[in-house]
């Protein structure tokens, strides 16, 4: 199958890659660029484990075609910590034990970061609905929601 050449920006860095037209952004991240932090749980947009930011919008990378990336900009979980400084959400997820197996965690973090950038003071209900597209089978969501609310509170305070 012939491949398409794509120039894009990932986590602030210029990136070029070749992909088949049917490969998704998630396939490209994982299989071509070895950025395996974004996970495939369903490949149908139903679990959110592959959440990334595309031109500043939260999307499922499994529902974006690789060639669409030309000239666009992507942020993944790999770009969330700055140097050795974890993002406050990452820190709070650790403190609240908001993960068990951890497979859904990158998607939750990317989605929660998008929420707090748009709404720094969400209610519990707002957090739950914003994150309804991120499935977690381990935690029952309780500690995840608490971690997000606590991060929001801390970030507002600082």
């Amino acid at each position: 199958m012939s491949k398409t050449h794509v120039s894009t920006t990932i986590n602030g860095d210029p990136v070029e890659f070749l992909c088949e037209p049917e490969q998704t952004l998630l396939d490209v991240l994982r299989d071509e660029l070895y950025l395996t932090g974004s996970k495939e749980g369903c490949a149908s947009g139903d679990c959110g484990a592959c959440s990334v930011m595309l031109d500043g919008r939260l999307v499922c990378s499994c529902l974006v075609l690789g060639p669409e990336l030309n000239g666009r900009s992507v942020e993944t979980i790999e770009g969330m910590a700055k140097g050795d400084q974890l993002h406050p959400l990452q820190q709070k997820f650790l403190e609240h034990a908001a993960l068990q197996c951890g497979i859904c965690t990158p998607g939750f973090l990317v989605a929660a970061k998008a929420l707090l950038e748009k709404n720094p003071d969400p209610t519990e209900t707002e957090v739950r609905y914003w994150l309804a597209g991120n499935l977690c089978r381990c935690t029952g969501y309780d500690k995840i929601i608490r971690a997000v609310l606590d991060t929001a509170s801390e970030m507002r305070g600082s």
């Binding site: 012939s2 037209p21 149908s44 947009g45 499922c60 529902l63 669409e68 994150l131 597209g133």
Partner: protein, 289 residues
Amino acid sequence: MVEMRYEAPESLDAAVALLAGAKGEARVLAGGTDLLVQLRADMIEPALVVDVKRIPELCKIKAEGKGFRVGAAVSGAELNEHPKFKKVWPGVAEAFDLIGSTQIQGRASMGGNLCNGSPAADSVPALIAAGAVATVVGPKGSRDVPVEKIVTGPGKTSLKKGEIVASFQFPSRPKRSSDAYLRFIPRTEMDIAVVGVGVSLTLDAKGVCTAARVALGAVAPTPLLVANAAKALIGTTLDDDAMAALAKAASAACNPIDDKRGTIEYRTKVAGVLARRTAQIALERAREN
């Protein structure tokens, strides 16, 4: 097995030319939230995918006359962030907002939701109730089509080869008008509608309904505009009798199937209940306008 070609034209003319000239199956890619799922599941094997998100007029929301024109590729998130649209058409905005997760909202488009041809598409009953008109552009120029005339059956539309839905026109709103959309799903999010109801109405100064449109989703092979349901409201103050008549008309219009998402019996009953609840919300909103 077909080799799929991806194109991202930057003008409507170029997109139409690509689609019209395609050999084999051609698909329009807007948000891709249905298309990519179908691709992955091997339900479709298009020879050509035309990404329309680089065509400026498909990605804009603008005031037109006293109404709005919304590009067919505008995402749910963009529509819901628009400062004015949501105030005038809260039902359309909330229906669009119900399509999938936040992540899906970042991509899903009204054009895609309509042209995917699902009877259960959330935005479609709201668009129909709103009286929205689709601007369809094709090799022979452009034509305006009421939204209820686009979907002809599950997965089928009245679009001809080379045609795409470019935008939707929303008419101007008289005073004391509003709309609402409700759907039933088993969970609180992430499901396909078991029943969806869009209601748009206008009241006079005394609170009597002077105009109404009621549309149902997921209860027939296509989304339905239900004239009898609207009739039940027009000329009334949406009192209990009118609401009961509305519910009855909504249930009577149903021609659903039994499937994994709901039974015929259940869908028929829920259509009535939801029609009443939706009309109530639209009524309260209209009174405030």
